[in-house]
């Protein structure tokens, strides 16, 4: 296996906090001394528009900042996962927010009730994005739990730190052990 490279695509709706998740993930990678590039694609709307964020974490240097075939993809919005499935890298994973009935899922597609966890267990629906961060890290081990917690802190108000830590822990718990097959890390980019 070559050097580890993760290519993450987060699909959400403006206002869900998925850009923040991508920044936290990127900062966690920096804390661990890895190379990282984070970017996003969105329309002119502040809220409600389509928002996609990208994070590349690699032991090599990273120049091209976009991702064509992510090995980790998460869909927070209600968009149909089948639209995105063809983009997934071989042996990558697609995590969908499992609040709705998705029916039987193909291999490599995982439904995790992210919004329900935030609503019912954390009792703070606004923390759904931090739950999703926990799920990603729980499933992939892309960055350490400690690095993620360190990166979360500056992005949440001090009085909300504990509830976000809870959200992260519940996300981790939901993610760990969910994986049915190992994820192939991307060997080298492109061409």
């Amino acid at each position: 296996m070559g050097k580890k490279r993760w290519e993450v695509r987060l699909i959400g709706t403006g206002g869900q906090g998925m850009v923040t998740v991508s920044i936290i993930l990127a900062e966690a990678a920096v804390h661990e001394g890895r190379n990282v590039v984070q970017s996003q694609n969105y329309g002119p709307e502040v809220r409600g528009g389509h928002s996609t964020s990208y994070v590349i974490v690699s032991d090599d240097s990273i120049l091209y900042p976009k991702i064509d075939s992510p090995n980790v993809m998460l869909i927070m919005s209600s968009r149909d996962y089948r639209t995105y499935l063809p983009d997934l890298a071989q042996d990558g994973i697609l995590i969908i927010n499992g609040e709705a009935d998705h029916g039987a899922l193909p291999d490599r597609v995982y439904a995790v009730p992210i919004t329900d966890i935030a609503h019912d267990k954390v009792r703070k629906p606004i923390t759904a994005n931090i739950v999703s961060l926990g799920v990603i890290i729980g499933m992939t081990g892309m960055v350490s739990e400690e690095a993620a917690l360190e990166a979360i802190q500056p992005h949440v108000p001090a009085k909300a730190l504990e509830v976000n830590k809870t959200a992260f822990a519940l996300g981790l718990e939901a993610g760990r052990g969910a994986l049915k097959k190992p994820i192939a890390v991307i060997d080298s980019p492109l061409v």
Partner: protein
Amino acid sequence: MANAKLLQGNEACVFGALAAGVRFFAGYPITPSTEIANIFARELPKLGGKFMQMEDEIASMGAVIGASCTGVKAITATSGPGFSLKQENIGFAAEAEIPCVIIDVMRYGPSTGLPTKSSQGDFMQARWGTHGDHAIIVIAPYTAREAYRETGRAVNMSERYRIPVIILMDEILGHLRERVEFKEEDVVTVVDRKGPAPGVPYLPFEDTDDLIPPFAGFGDGYRYHITGLIHDKTGFPTNDPETINQVMRRMNGKLDRYRDEIVKVKYVDVDDADILIIAFGSVARAAEEVVRSMKKAGKRVGLLRPVTLWPFPDKEIRKAASGKKAVIVPEMNLGQMVREVERAVAGEAPIYPLNKIDGELITPHEISDLIKEIL
């Protein structure tokens, strides 16, 4: 700034400018440059500097010129539509030789265009957006780390030469965040403009040997005139053809005199390459990935990346391109830099433009597909 950190391209520009001594920002928020205004608003007061949100773009440019005239290092930031609106006052800064830096984070145009989509459509506007022959410098970084260093260099060049300097970013570089670890070569030194010599009468547009007249700040005790009219060495308007010719050749001549100090080009595997890619800004990031991947596949592809776009690095490009099997010029526009490349290469190698105008970054695959076609 020894420790590694996650830095956004726009953010890096701000810290580079502050390191070079910028203490004034005036602007009008516009996507995708708004973070620059936000961060200056937060950081400048801590350093005793001033931040002004102005009523519009041209007024922002006016405020920057005014601040610079008082001896303060001044900067503004905008995007395509605002850059168009600033052009009249950019011309004033060029004619009156006012040091200032303008950051243009390019978005898709023309007009309102696509506020959150990237483009390299301002390549020509950055050089020729204001009317008349004028001296101007344009710099295009390609990473957050380089945005820091080059914005510092832009401030220094503007102060040293009394020439407005444009930092030409694009939406992708402006908005992306990446791990940056600053090293020794990233340290921004501070260059101050030359002031008047004591004991001699002050001529604000004196025909000095170095072509750069000393600049006294308003309030420093000197009484002089600044105007957008063509002026003589006292700063007052002139209609005398001989004086007009002399003063305009001096001002424009600064670019020729200091050309080799200003022009910066980066080379990746150029010497033994069969195919040369010439690209700047975010597109150069895709191009450099192609060079790396092609190398692994045993193919000899090189990249010449102009960091200074204007003055255009024509002699460097001609030298690097001569005898190559192909020169590929990928751009997020319908072909602006390629015209300059054609002029520079002057038939010494076949040139292949690669143009993309769908708002998305040119991908490494698109470049490598063209290379495979040529090979």
